[in-house]
Subunit: 354 residues, 2 copies
């Protein structure tokens, strides 16, 4: 039975990427060797890393603009501390829009003064704060573009007179933005890019080298840049699959093409959430995420019936995060519109049968 995989991450990847990945595990580039048993310094794998970095910059329209792309390890959680290690001399400003922002902020506090410019914690992070003040004497400003758990997304990024740092783990490559406004972008691969195990870092070189502390080699962006993302053995398989996914996106027409599909998916699910009297959305409408739609049943609705219906339809991964409850439909780049339509049909069926 066909599965409709709404998992919040690690999540659905394009079928052709999965097939090619499995083939490479058996026989990489017709070498009669597996992708996972060759040297990362081999010509064939160096080409993979170079291609993955180039594709990332190309999709973001950041080639030849002083940016470098890196595929590191440790997830966004490691970037929480690396960003501060490399950039925080005295003071940084953070926008708190949820669990991941809060964690990033907590790690940064080990390295200097951290100003929380605004927080939506008062309403369990169901909105994006606006009209906050950002101090002028900061080393950088940090925000999280999409909040997977709460289903909110920043539509308008503030103008900042300091480096703009953004955790884009859960919506990178999903929508067009002027990425040149950002100085440091990081993203765990396991949403729109690839399997868990690698993290994309895109950094404008000119912001580095300005802190006075000594930085351990593995945490130093400059060292990774100087080694072309191969300071040590990278996460070979995860980088390869990321390259395939970035290539799949390119063949599809890039971010502008996938954004149209993502808009249609989001419109489809939110229209039904708003129409169907048995459901209510969690996030405030103007801040709704196009990647993760969070919603709950209205009081008195038959949860058992609904759960039975979506399971019977081959849907998986839509249970909400414990911080919010209810349901979360994650609609990353690789999720076909058809899967959202199946979910909406199930919601309608639930209404009829209730």
């Amino acid at each position: 039975m066909k599965k409709h995989n709404f998992s919040a991450g690690p999540c659905i990847l394009p079928q052709e990427v999965i097939k090619k990945s499995a083939e490479a595990v058996l026989n990489f580039n017709n070498s009669n060797l597996s992708l996972i048993e060759i040297s990362h310094r081999s010509k064939d794998f160096v080409a993979v890393m170079d291609n993955a970095c180039a594709l990332a910059l190309e999709h973001l329209n950041l080639q030849n603009k002083g940016y470098k792309a890196l595929f590191l390890q440790g997830g966004a959680s490691t970037q929480f501390l690396m960003a501060a290690y490399n950039l925080l001399e005295k003071k940084a400003a953070y926008l708190n829009t949820g669990t991941w922002s809060s964690k990033a902020l907590k790690e940064a506090k080990l390295f200097g003064e951290v100003i929380e410019v605004a927080s939506s914690k008062d309403k369990n992070f169901n909105y994006i704060p606006k009209n906050f003040n950002i101090p002028s004497d900061i080393d950088y400003f940090h925000c999280t573009s999409n909040n997977t758990i709460f289903g909110t997304q920043i539509n308008s990024f503030p103008e900042v007179n300091a480096p703009l740092v953004c955790d884009m783990s859960s919506d990178i490559f999903s929508r067009e933005l002027d990425f040149s406004k950002f100085d440091l972008i990081y993203a765990g691969a396991q949403k729109n890019m690839g399997p868990a195990g690698t993290t994309l870092v895109v950094v404008k070189e000119e912001i580095l080298g300005k802190v006075s502390r000594n930085i351990p080699s593995m945490l130093d962006y400059k060292i990774h840049i100087n080694s072309e993302s191969m300071f040590n053995t990278p996460s070979v398989f995860a980088v390869y699959v990321s390259m395939l996914t970035l290539d799949w996106l390119k063949n599809l027409g890039g971010i502008s093409a996938i954004e149209k599909i993502n808009n249609k998916k989001a419109d489809t699910i939110y229209t039904e959430i708003d129409r169907n009297p048995l459901f209510k959305g969690f996030a405030q409408k103007e801040d709704r995420s196009k990647m993760n739609a969070t919603f709950t049943l209205v009081e008195g609705a038959n949860q058992e019936l609904f759960d039975g219906l979506w399971k019977a339809a081959g849907i998986s991964g839509i249970n909400g995060h414990r911080s919010v409850g209810g349901y979360r439909a994650s609609m990353y780049n690789a999720l076909p519109l058809e899967s959202v339509q199946v979910l909406v049909e199930v919601m309608k069926e639930f209404e009829r049968k209730s």
Copy 2:
């Protein structure tokens, strides 16, 4: 044509592990979902992580002895700094037996005083220093059990009145040792355990929590222990393949069984290096590694002829590291004895044709 993969790492893995890994990428546990598109918090993957950790402790005979196993990210290079971050309050002692020891030592210096108790740098690291003094007032002693680049291996570990920390990246699970003498063992997966992208850490819990500095979450062993190696999204594929490899080793009879095979492989290659007048070994005989045999051609030997012969025999990955030159035959657990025999035949043929 069958390949004989002597790659120094990432390196050969058991064929059955590679096949099962490729199957899981297509369809994991008959779920009709790929291993790389499911939640790491799913029941099926939590079982993988638990099993991998349990198998690691079982192989090392460290169950129920106060140790925890973790599968982290960032390679041994990240452990260089994590070990110091977690354990170095004032002073640590390091044995310098090569490139990786030197790097570990360099990172530790950012966190406290580091005593180099001995070094074999004077002879390009072709031996293991012995009879050195270890200060008594240290926080820990650090050594590298096997030196991939130079082809040396520690046979006798010093008695230390402080925690014993060991980088076993390139010989873990290859030979029987009293692992309970060690307090912190770490190993990048990409030699005897799995693909690049995860790092095994085995730590005795009682040595933790004794430094006064604040440790960033991702660098704190205690936080990873408290989260059962799932503080953040782990490197799912690499952990799964590691579990399969540890299971393969168990079915084979464990470390004691593989050690017999490894001894036979090492004996086979070193006997030929010593017998054949066209080759000379690089490492001192008593310190030779059973994982990586380093050797060069004698002056005047026909390198082109030798290179042509081994390539024609399907051998790959035996070029030496640039620090040593010549050749390096890496004979990790998954390399069959047959591959070593093929290489020895080629060395004999080279002698006949020279």
